[in-house]
């Protein structure tokens, strides 16, 4: 098995009496497209929130490239190369698609009150580069024609692509996608998968929460299954498909659908 880019040890988080994530230890192999499956309420999104700093764990550790990043804030983790999207897309609705993308690069000179006045030429150079990069990234996710549209007015599927584009602006080594195919029309899903696989070939690691088993079986390796806050299976997609208990207990509805 490839070396892990991200690993957790006994990671736990409760909400009152509910153990949403219960002593989860797992490894995300570098360069993989890891699928994270499990029924609703299994703790997948909570795990994402713990990995990206949106929630703080009650116990356990998270290591990125062997460094302890437990409890770091989301902004710090983005700067360290972890990008994430949301289950329900969160575009900056009253900003243009291009501006959504241009926001993401960290350390912009013009991001302070005085920057736009004191460091104008440096800011202008940066803006030119960031704008070009944003246009390239939007082109990559097929949103370039919508660059000047308000992000709140594009389709739900396009919003998912926009979230991916925003994340890509930070050149992350690891991208966590929360149900990228849910509610997206098949054509856009194909586009999205194509982009994910292309990025993966270039070395980006993905972790994908997905309910669509067909999607997971075709594109994810390895597969991690969660139920009631715990990891109940880690292995290849084929092994997951061959595991009757897993299919029956947690994926029955989706697999039969």
């Amino acid at each position: 098995m490839a070396e892990a880019i991200l690993s957790t040890h006994a990671l736990s988080r409760s909400f009152g009496p509910l153990k949403a994530v219960d002593a989860v230890s797992l490894n995300i192999p570098r360069g993989s497209i890891t699928g994270l499956i499990g029924p609703n309420g299994a703790g997948k999104s909570t795990l994402f929130n713990l990995l990206t700093g949106a929630l703080k764990p009650d116990a356990g550790t998270v290591l990125l490239d062997g460094r302890d990043i437990t409890g770091d804030a989301p902004n710090a983790l983005f700067a360290q190369g972890i990008g994430r999207t949301f289950q329900i897309p969160r575009p900056f609705a009253r900003m243009s698609v291009l501006e959504n993308a241009m926001l993401a690069p960290t350390g912009q000179t013009g991001e302070t009150v005085v920057g736009p006045f004191l460091f104008r030429s440096r800011m202008r150079d940066q803006e030119r580069r960031i704008r070009q990069k944003a246009l390239d990234v939007l082109e990559f996710v097929t949103l370039a024609p919508l660059a000047d549209h308000p992000a709140g007015k594009i389709s739900g599927g396009q919003m998912k692509l926009l979230e991916l584009a925003r994340v890509l602006m930070g050149d992350p080594a690891l991208i966590l996608l929360d149900e990228p195919a849910a509610g997206v029309n098949p054509k856009l899903t194909e586009t999205l998968i194509g982009r994910i696989e292309e990025l993966n070939r270039q070395g980006t690691t993905f972790v994908i929460i997905e309910h669509d088993m067909d999607f997971v079986m075709r594109h994810c390796e390895p597969v991690i299954a969660m139920a009631q806050g715990s990891v109940v299976f880690q292995g290849t997609a084929d092994e997951a498909m061959a595991n009757p208990v897993l299919l029956d207990a947690y994926l029955g509805a989706t697999a039969n659908a």
Partner: protein, 322 residues
């Protein structure tokens, strides 16, 4: 005739001073989504700060540092900014409605402080002993008021241009992202707490500038100038003009101040004498009705926010004069 012109100068001066305050609030609410319910505290800090720093020595209260006027004005702005920084550190973690209540409380506390701390701010009698700058040269008449209007207009234009450039910069982009979705912005590497505080302080410094000019204009400030009424009026100006649009903010200031003055005049002229006692209250009701009406039928204001973009996709950068 000179009476009318003179009145117009007076009106334009007051409206311009208020327009500066509305621009400050627009940075906080319109661009960043921070509900400042205590506008008047920062306006008041600017006014008290300027008069105390720039006034003649007084036995009755603190002050009389007789600073060179521009320094006194800058000092008033700094005081407003300092207050915003402290208030911001304590309250900016709160979301909309809670932040509104907390800042409203700050404004009430500020009013009570200046009303009761006589040694500090002269209590109910207010701060006196301020000499308007260049009075010796320009006198007290029409000429002075005309020159002062020019100064105020200059401050208004400078503030407007400053904010227009700011909202079209990466910083403006950052403010809008925080306003739209703070968590998403944080997931993209931004630090919302710091950005919110910066916007709050910057907006409050502008409110302080407005207050400083107001105090200078009347050469006097008292607790009557920092009542919640003024917060209410400044909010009405922003809502009616168009939150998120700097032009709307200035337009709203002139429109609402015009309506306020006109309604006062009409009531004193045409209302029965018994009713005239209640002029202020009637005006309040009218302004309240205007706000409610706007929020119901035109919630984005007369000049709604345009899609402000720092950069466009299709036109090359060189053509935008960035």
């Amino acid at each position: 005739m000179i009476g009318v012109v003179s009145y117009l100068v007076f009106f334009a001066t007051t409206a311009s001073i208020l327009a500066i305050a509305v621009l400050g609030l627009n940075l906080q609410w319109g661009n960043t989504g921070l509900f400042n319910g205590g506008v008047v505290a920062f306006f008041g800090a600017g006014a008290y700060g300027t008069l105390i720093l720039g006034g003649m020595p007084q036995g009755a209260h603190l002050g009389g540092f007789a600073l060179f006027y521009p320094l006194a004005l800058l000092g008033g702005m700094a005081l407003a900014g300092l207050m915003a920084w402290i208030v911001g550190l304590l309250t900016l973690r709160l979301r909309h409605d809670y932040l509104a209540i907390a800042t409203f409380g700050v404004a009430v506390a500020f009013e009570n402080l200046v009303r009761n701390a006589e040694w500090l701010a002269g209590g109910a009698k207010g701060v006196r002993g301020f000499e308007r700058p260049l009075r010796a040269m320009l006198g007290d008449g029409f000429l002075y008021n005309l020159c002062f209007l020019a100064v105020v207009l200059l401050a208004l234009v400078a503030t407007y241009l400053f904010l227009e450039r700011l909202v079209a910069s990466p910083f403006g982009r950052l403010l809008r992202a925080i306003r739209e979705d703070e968590e998403a912005a944080q997931s993209l590497g931004k630090s919302p707490a710091g950005v919110r505080l910066t916007a709050f302080v910057t907006g409050s410094v502008i409110l302080g500038l407005s207050g400083g000019l107001y105090g200078t204009f009347y050469a006097f400030v008292s607790p009557q100038d920092v009542l919640p009424t003024l917060t209410f009026q400044i909010w009405a100006m922003l809502i009616v003009g168009g939150s998120g649009n700097n032009r709307g903010a200035v337009f709203g200031a002139f429109l609402i101040w015009g309506a306020w003055t006109a309604s006062g005049w009409a009531l004193s002229r045409f209302a029965p004498v018994e009713a005239q006692l209640y002029t202020g209250s009637v005006q309040f009701v009218l302004i309240g009705a205007v706000i409610v009406g706007m929020l119901l039928w035109r919630p984005r204001g007369l000049l709604p926010e345009r899609l402000v973009v720092s950069q466009r996709g299709k036109t090359p950068l060189a053509k935008q004069g960035v």
